[in-house]
């Protein structure tokens, strides 16, 4: 088990290092000089040279890379070439907003997927199971931003129950925070829930065919008791893998949903950075998102071992 954990940690760290090189290299091939881009076309050559010197853009690329990486490791994401403000605090503030969305979205997705998927598997030859299957198939086809727009049309425009957009920090006004969180979290959660439902169904169907479940039924347990006591933990292993991948999708989905609901999260920061040509900011946000995806996959690997005792000796 320890060996496996060391191996997975190694893979995670190497992936992280290679990704950071990729992100840095990708932004470095950008046509045009970041300093010139930041100052505008009318800036004098002296002003551009001064900015290049100020931000260390005149140094060799490897030096710039290691400097950036060193900063990242210390939590220092550098200073924006455009706004001249420190990037770290901005990313940290925005990340909190996005995390609220992602976590709420995932909770909603799980709350839908686990019961619906289990029900679909238990009744997979009945009309109710097939009907749920069809609904989930439609849910998978609706992108989160479209779900967001539809939710706004129904709950904000037609019914007037919830605000159409905006964001209030929870510490400032918890009631308003919740009201504004519901629709974007639902937009993310409903769609992910539909995707996840299909995996839960498939995993539970596999478990239902297992001998130990038949034995549990033979001992006199009712179908749902048997599934609850013996089935769900076994069905959890494949679902957790997908959950990890879905969390990454959810994080990226949040980028678009933030736009729909005018929420000042990490996605908005990234998109604003792209439109302002604030390259270091874009590079930092992309790296934070990639780190989050890799970290989630790493944690899923670790969770595997916890869920499946057979892997502990492997």
């Amino acid at each position: 088990m320890i060996l496996r954990l060391i191996e997975r940690t190694g893979v995670f760290l190497v992936s992280l290092a290679v990704s950071s090189v990729l992100v840095f290299a990708f932004m470095a091939v950008l046509p045009g000089d970041p300093a010139r881009v930041a100052l505008g076309v009318n800036a004098s050559d002296e002003a551009v040279a001064e900015l290049r010197r100020q931000f260390g853009l005149d140094r060799p690329l490897p030096t710039q890379y290691f400097d950036w990486l060193g900063g990242l490791l210390h939590g220092d994401l550098g200073t924006s070439y455009v706004s001249k403000a420190a990037i770290g605090p901005q990313v940290f503030d925005r990340l909190q907003v996005t995390l609220w969305l992602v976590v709420a979205g995932m909770v909603i997705a799980l709350a839908i997927a686990v019961p619906a998927g289990t029900l679909m598997a238990a009744r997979h030859r009945k009309v109710s199971g097939l009907a749920l299957s069809a609904v989930s198939q439609v849910g998978v086809a609706v992108p989160a931003f479209l779900a967001g727009i539809l939710l706004i049309v129904v709950f904000a425009v037609k019914l007037g129950w919830l605000p159409a957009n905006g964001w209030t920090p929870p510490a400032q006004d918890p009631a308003m925070f919740l009201q504004q969180l519901i629709l974007p979290a639902l937009a993310l959660g409903l769609v992910q829930g539909a995707v996840l439902t299909r995996y839960v169904r498939s995993a539970v169907l596999d478990v239902l065919r297992e001998d130990y479940l038949r034995t549990a039924r033979a001992k006199g347990l009712r179908p749902f008791q048997a599934l609850w006591k013996h089935g769900l933990r076994n069905a959890a292993v494949p679902v957790v893998t997908v959950l990890g991948l879905q969390l990454a999708t959810l994080l990226i989905g949040a980028v678009v949903v933030e736009r729909v609901f005018v929420i000042p999260g990490l996605g908005s920061l990234l998109l604003d950075g792209v439109s302002n040509r604030d390259l270091l900011l874009v590079q930092d946000v992309v790296m934070v998102l990639v780190l989050a995806v890799l970290l989630v996959n790493f944690l899923v690997d670790v969770l595997y071992v916890a869920l499946d005792p057979r892997l502990r000796t492997a």
Binding site: Q137, V140, V142, F145, I149, V157, V255, V256, V286
Partner: protein, 272 residues
């Protein structure tokens, strides 16, 4: 007789309708999809404008028709890019065992950390937003899933007797890959292409919605949705029609992918 496969039929019909709509739009649309007519702004659906008109007086139905071309074009190119890179990579990873094969798959996994949308936004930041950058970014982001699926299929083929016989007869790896492995993974390629197509449609719509996809005036379902946002209170139908188009297209390709998978591997039919 083989049982009817509802997913395959439903998916096939939906995709055929979208393809037909795109083809017809080359020769006929009710109105010029890009024609700005200020006098007929925001008209409700009627016999003359089936889906109404937008803020510039453009006919929404005509835009949906021409938008299907954009959707299919982006899908075809993105899936093409993914297949051209992913299929050889998957076959190579299966044929070259030991560490080079392992290294290919590790690099492949690394690419998974860059989802289509993130990659496309990065491409947009560096090269400027366009249909081309969106297609390439979506294509590259779909490479890992192609490579993974094809590798698992190719590994099975590599263990088959005819491949062992070909190797024993002294055939070189490249002819084995082309003559034996590739023809036996085409069903996997078809299924994966359909699934990736659905993802490409979603990604293109999201990118155009954010302003990083197809630039105006070329009609695109995602941008129609974006433009509809300022009229959600007064004319929500402007969001409904392109939204439905996106959802139906994705549903069609997903169903087609499911149906094809069932057809090629009937054992799996019960699982979905």
């Amino acid at each position: 007789m083989r049982r009817l496969n509802p997913s395959l039929i439903a998916g096939g019909v939906i995709v055929a309708v979208i393809v037909a709509m795109a083809l017809v739009s080359f020769v006929w649309t009710p109105y010029d999809a890009t024609l700005v007519t200020p006098s007929s702004r925001l008209l409700k659906p009627s016999w003359s404008h089936w889906f109404g008109t937008d803020k510039f007086g453009r006919d929404v139905f005509s835009q949906i028709m021409v938008g299907s071309r954009t959707t299919l074009f982006v899908g075809v190119v993105a899936v093409g890019v993914a297949a051209v890179i992913g299929v050889p990579l998957g076959i190579l990873a299966a044929m070259v065992r030991r560490w080079p094969g392992e290294a290919i798959m590790r690099a492949n996994d690394l690419l998974l950390a860059f989802p289509a949308l993130l990659l496309a936004i990065m491409f947009g930041a560096v090269f400027g937003a366009s249909t081309l950058t969106a297609m390439i970014a979506i294509g590259i982001a779909s490479v890992p899933s192609f490579a993974r699926v094809i590798r698992s299929g190719a590994l099975q083929v590599m263990r088959s007797e005819y491949v062992l016989a070909a190797r024993a007869a002294g055939r070189q790896p490249f002819p084995i890959a082309v003559r034996h492995v590739l023809p036996n993974v085409t069903s996997l390629i078809t299924v994966q292409a359909s699934v990736s197509f659905a993802i490409a449609v979603l990604a293109e719509a999201a990118l155009s919605f954010l302003g990083y996809g197809t630039p105006p005036p070329t009609p695109s379902w995602g941008r129609m949705l974006q433009e509809s946002q300022e009229f959600l209170f007064s004319a929500p139908r402007l969001a409904i029609f392109p939204g439905l188009a996106i959802a139906i297209a994705v549903l069609g390709f997903n169903l087609l992918g499911d149906g094809l998978r069932d057809r090629f591997d009937p054992k799996l039919e019960d699982r979905r």
